[in-house]
């Protein structure tokens, strides 16, 4: 392995990139129209309206892009470390699908009428349940094949149940809403939703980050990690619960945004090396940058509804995934 660039330099430049894209996300509107041009005309008439758009439409969208991207990047890196598997990712192994199912059940059953806070809670429960099932199916002996097969099965099953729940719900827009939950979107979210997801994500991030030393030890094998004094039970529980909290909250407001958690850690490895611990922060920053960039991309078409975010991330992610499978096969003994 060649020497890697200083980790701090990488982190700082990724943070700068994410900050730049965050600013761009606020600044660039539909069809690439710039904020300044638009606001000059509005704020001449009424400053309050310009302020309203800035704080209630543009800011929450950019913030959610940042938060959701960071969540997906961080949990992707965490899961790849925990399962010692380069193909692990919240979307691929069913956590996002489970979260979508949980959120859909709460949202369309009318439970959310009491408080919208229940929707992220439903998402969290769904994600944790999906991960727990995966771990029961494949956890002790995580070969690539078992994990991916179990994940695909869970994803397909939760996806089908989500569609079923929507079809049975009284929603008149079931077909369109299935698309939303499966492909994700950041369009016209509000600050309320940012406040709802923030605590879940915060706790989730901390739980996943708290496993960083254990993830390094785990790369030497479970037994070695145990001799080094890490309790596998506690590490697994923290990683799964943390992922469930963060991903569940993210999916409950944006739907399933696929492939980010898969692609980002792989992009970061050449920069910071293979150690799972050193991957966590760069993956979070890189994920945020990727989702913000993808969200800029979906705004380009002017006519008709916007593209879904998951369309763009999957366009990037799926070919990458294929390339990864080819490489894994080549490297396999």
């Amino acid at each position: 392995m060649k020497r890697h660039i200083d980790a701090w330099a990488v982190n700082l430049s990724l943070a700068a990139l994410a900050a730049l894209l965050f600013a761009a996300s606020i600044y660039v509107g539909r069809g690439g129209e710039l904020l300044a041009d638009k606001f000059e005309t509005i704020s001449a008439v009424d400053r309050d309206i310009a302020w309203l758009i800035l704080t209630e439409v543009r800011l929450p969208r950019a913030l959610l892009g940042l938060l959701v991207g960071a969540t997906l990047g961080l949990t992707g890196a965490g899961l790849q470390g925990l399962l010692r598997n380069p193909l692990a990712e919240p979307g691929l192994i069913g956590a996002s699908g489970g979260a979508a199912l949980g959120a859909v059940l709460v949202f369309y059953s009318g439970l959310a009428a009491g408080t919208a806070m229940f929707v992220p809670i439903g998402g969290v429960i769904g994600a944790v349940a999906a991960l727990a099932v995966l771990y029961l199916l494949a956890g002790r002996n995580p070969s690539i094949v078992t994990i991916i097969l179990a994940g695909v099965a869970i994803s397909a099953f939760t996806g089908a149940l989500t569609s079923l729940a929507l079809n049975l719900s009284p929603s008149p827009y079931a077909a369109l809403e299935i698309v939303f939950w499966m492909l994700g979107s950041l369009t016209d979210r509000s600050m309320t939703q940012v406040w709802f997801v923030l605590p879940f994500m915060g706790v989730g991030w901390l739980l996943v980050a708290s496993t960083w030393r254990a993830l390094d030890a785990l790369s030497l094998g479970e037994d070695t990690a145990a001799t080094l004094g890490f309790s596998m039970r506690s590490v697994t529980a923290r990683a799964i619960l943390g992922t469930g909290l963060a991903v569940g909250a993210a999916v409950s407001v944006t739907g399933v945004v696929g492939f980010v958690g898969l692609v980002v850690p792989h992009l970061m490895r050449p920069l910071v090396g293979q150690r799972p611990a050193s991957l966590l922060l760069p993956s979070a920053l890189g994920g945020a940058a990727l989702v913000l960039a993808a969200d800029l991309f979906v705004r380009i078409p002017v006519n008709g509804p916007e593209l879904k975010l998951g369309v763009v991330t999957s366009l990037i992610g799926a070919p990458f995934f294929l390339w990864l499978i080819l490489r894994t096969r080549r490297e396999a003994p």
Partner: protein, 307 residues
């Protein structure tokens, strides 16, 4: 499948002669397989002749005549649902499943289709089409006269307030859609100027606010059913804009999902909103020394003062 085809051929042999023999007599066993034709038939059919309606025709969320159709058995628009009623006329929409329409024609059941009405003339034409198929031309002309009178009552002239008609999913009505025409008819200036075949454009919440409509006419469809599409209308930015800067009127979707004579109800609501807004404006005028309303650039006219 083969069995079904054979069955169809046999049926066509059975039904055809009956149909050929009596074209003059008005139909007595009418089946409607589409919401829009349900609504028209409810107005036009002679009592007791409507044997079955499409299930949505009986659903108060979609149908303005639901209460009048509760005693009529529903169908799901499939051929198998239609045949047991042995209809002598089927009413459908030009967009009904082409396979079903084709089967109905091959069996030889008389068929009348209504079209997607995009103008007031289209609405009258649909009434005439169905009335003619039912042999109730006179009743048709009465309904048209009522519709025309109701629309005339709702007509408002002049350069009125600006408005947008915004609905679930974030779609807004274009000037060439039926809703766009009603906006113009009731004296509003639609802030959406683009036109297209579908009659809808999709401005984001931000774009709606930037267009600064003085009236937000919200299309309301099944408000109790939770959906992301509907949650959009509750976005805080849009709510704040409605509260501070614009008047608001709710238009129930069942009156316009199908463009029928019931759009006159939408026109009446918009006309009432128009009157309320112009009264308010006049009042404000009387104690304003500033030059009168110059549309969008006069700050006092649009801003917080107007509540």
């Amino acid at each position: 499948m083969r069995g079904f085809a054979v069955c169809v051929v046999l049926l066509s042999g059975l039904v055809l002669p009956a149909h050929a023999e009596a074209p003059q007599r008005p139909p007595e066993r009418i089946v409607s397989i589409n919401l829009c034709s349900d609504i028209l038939a409810a107005d036009l059919a002679a009592p007791g002749t409507l044997k079955s309606v499409f299930r949505l025709g009986r659903d108060p969320g979609d149908s303005p005549v639901a209460h009048r159709l509760q005693h009529i058995p529903p169908n799901d628009g499939r051929l198998e649902d239609i045949l047991p009623f042995a209809p002598d006329l089927v009413l459908a929409h030009e967009w009904s499943s082409p396979f079903t329409l084709d089967l109905i024609r091959r069996i030889g059941i008389p068929l009348a289709t209504v079209k997607d009405a995009r103008s007031f003339a289209d609405i009258r034409e649909n009434i005439r089409t169905v009335a003619a198929a039912l042999g109730r031309e006179k009743r048709g002309e009465t309904v048209i006269a009522e519709f025309d009178a109701a629309m005339e009552d709702a007509r408002r002239e002049g350069e009125g307030p600006t408005a947008i008609l915004y609905q679930d999913l974030g779609s807004a009505a274009t000037p060439n859609s039926i809703l766009g025409r009603i906006l113009a008819h009731t004296g509003f200036r639609n802030v959406v100027t683009a036109e297209n075949e579908v009659g809808l454009v999709y401005p984001g919440i931000e774009d709606v606010i930037v267009l600064r409509p003085e009236l937000l006419a919200l299309g309301v469809y099944r408000p109790d059913a939770p959906s992301q599409a509907r949650a959009l209308l509750e976005h805080p930015a849009l709510r704040l804009y409605r509260e501070r800067y614009a008047s608001e009127v709710h238009l129930p979707a069942r009156d316009w999902t199908c463009s029928t004579r019931f759009v006159a109800g939408i026109a009446a609501r918009l006309a009432a909103a128009h009157d309320a807004m112009t009264d308010e404006r006049r009042e404000q005028h009387s104690h304003l020394t500033l030059p009168p309303w110059e549309g969008q650039t006069v700050e006092d006219g649009l801003g917080r003062g107007r509540r």
